[in-house]
Symmetry: C2
DNA sequence: CTGAAAGCGCTTACAG
DNA sequence: CTGAAAGCGCTTACAG
């Protein structure tokens, strides 16, 4: 039970192991009757080829490596949702790798390569530009197809799927300004995720177009920490709108503002740039730019399958559409 | 660059491949000088053994299979966080598998087995008791160590780590009752996660001890759906406390109640049974039983390494401690 | 259409 | 301490 091998089914079906292998991989090359016989035995014995042996012999593991910074981030989990569904559909197994913050990056990628994945989905958006550069080089040297999944990296023509965060943020900022808001702040994180850099760019662009000074507040995703920041901020600054790179930060701000006596959205508009489940649990519900994270995961996985299977790719940098979900906070 | 093999190293170091293999796996068995020489070459060439070939030859993949129902559930992501950190520490790679709802379960497990994992961490808590039974049998037949991770399954002595959800829920229910609440409801899900069954049991026990009828409302995790349920509920029922198996459901209820004119916690106490990040973003902040999900993941992975490495295990069913985090909603 | 044989890149007794 | 050789369970040209 534990290990029925290709030899067992060959024996039971009275054929050579080559034939068994063929019915699994090139069924059209074997006589229908033999095929049926072999298939029957396979079913009876519950035979499944050893993926490791198959991987070694064929030099394809049918496995993709998912490289991420931190699973527990809500966005990562959602990306994974899309990735897993598509990977399953195309019969790829998935190995997950996390890259801790101060780890040797070269070594980390070497590990992924040593695991013999057929392709890499790169979700780590916490790397500096030079680090990204080195990572990409290393992966390309190893001749492994890679797709960046919700990671922004302009320098080379590396396949990627994401949304145009710069444009999205630009537009929502502009919308707020045109609705008459004057002191529009952007709350971003202290750590510089590549995705957030683009959000900042879009915001800055919209502000500068109106001749306004960008007003950026950097804080933590930790509610206890950002609450302190915001309490301080609310006491000392003049504001009538806040856009946040993360929904949870937007809500934390909203709670602080309300506690300090402000009315949302009358006194201050609040907008999130993710549209996570948090947005429908806050009071008032949070208006958001909706970024289709599940889809980004799914589409990037699909794109990667094309590279792994040498299908033709017409578009290697995919930007998915986004939309604004108007709720109660603006 | 793409593929430096053990032969390359052997050649460059002027030893046999057996020796190279030994310096990687049994360094104490090789002469320090040769070892140093080989190590130097390994470093120079950036050699990393092909994990697939190693797996085939040694019949150990150093890989664990993570079997889950749905990654995008917040709790799953947090479990994964703990799992990944420990797996990394013990140098195990991780393959993730999802089991879709109406999938052939036997086939799904066969896939995991065919992938040659050395151990299985089972996180899918959406299976019926008979299904669990069959899954466990199948895994044990394949002689693969398995640990249940935040999944309740009493029938056999399968290793597991979780918390005593029944006791936790019993105690919080009792606490509410003793604080004078009369109509204490439990909000659970329509789908019967094994973990939630235990929560229900604990709740029922506490109610019955006081001679009270259990008051259970089953709803969805989808906010749009449960909002409708709760609006209906609030109009028609008498209540002064609600405990929820999920924080997000608790918050959704709280929002509905507040909208309907109730005061939290004056008119109604609300308690969550998870302590996710949601709890500190709601107004008022949600009082919770804190279930250490990251720890459950980490401890279960550690336990699995013991089985995989044939270490002695003194305790195969681990219940982690929980605590009540008092906030503003009760 | 089918089988015998080589080979994938390692590990591991077995000699020496 | 080191090397030659068999073998892990498959795939894939190569013959026939």
């Amino acid at each position: 039970m534990a290990n029925t091998t290709i030899y067992d089914v060959a024996g039971a079906a009275k054929v050579s192991l080559a034939t068994v292998s063929r019915v699994m991989n090139n069924p059209e090359k074997v006589n229908p009757e033999t095929r049926a016989r072999v298939l029957k035995v396979i079913k009876e014995l519950g035979y499944r080829p050893n993926a490791i042996a198959r991987g070694l012999a064929s030099r394809k593991s049918t496995t993709v490596g998912i490289v991420m910074a931190d699973v527990s981030r809500a966005a990562t989990a959602q990306l994974l949702g899309g990735i897993i569904d598509i990977a399953k559909k195309y019969d790829y197994a998935m190995k997950v790798f996390s890259m801790a913050e101060h780890e040797d990056i070269k070594e980390a990628i070497r590990t992924v390569v040593a695991e013999q994945v057929d392709g890499i989905l790169f979700l780590n958006d916490e790397l500096e530009s030079e680090q990204m550069h080195s990572v990409i080089n290393q992966i390309q040297d190893a001749q492994i197809p890679v797709v960046l999944c919700n990671v922004i990296y302009d320098d080379l023509d590396v396949p990627s799927v994401s949304i145009d965060y710069e444009k999205a943020t630009y537009e929502i900022t502009k919308e707020l300004l045109e609705a008459g808001r004057k002191d529009v702040y952007l709350a971003s994180t202290v750590r510089k995720y590549t995705v957030n850099l683009h959000k900042v760019n879009g915001y800055v662009k919209a502000m500068e177009e109106k001749g306004l000074e960008p007003l950026i507040i950097r804080t933590s995703g930790d509610v206890a920490v950002n609450t302190l920041h915001f309490e301080e901020f609310i006491k000392n600054k003049k504001f009538d709108a806040l856009i946040s790179v993360r929904d949870s930060i937007a809500i934390s701000f909203m709670n602080c503002a309300i506690k300090a006596g402000f009315k949302v959205p009358e006194d201050v508009s609040v907008v999130g740039l993710q549209n996570t489940k948090y947005a429908v649990l806050s009071r008032p519900n949070l208006t958001c730019v909706d970024t289709p994270v599940y889809d980004i995961g799914a589409v990037s996985m699909r794109l990667l399958t094309k590279y792994m299977q040498h299908e033709e790719v017409t578009e290697s940098k995919i930007l998915l559409p986004y939309r604004v979900v108007e709720r109660e906070s603006n």
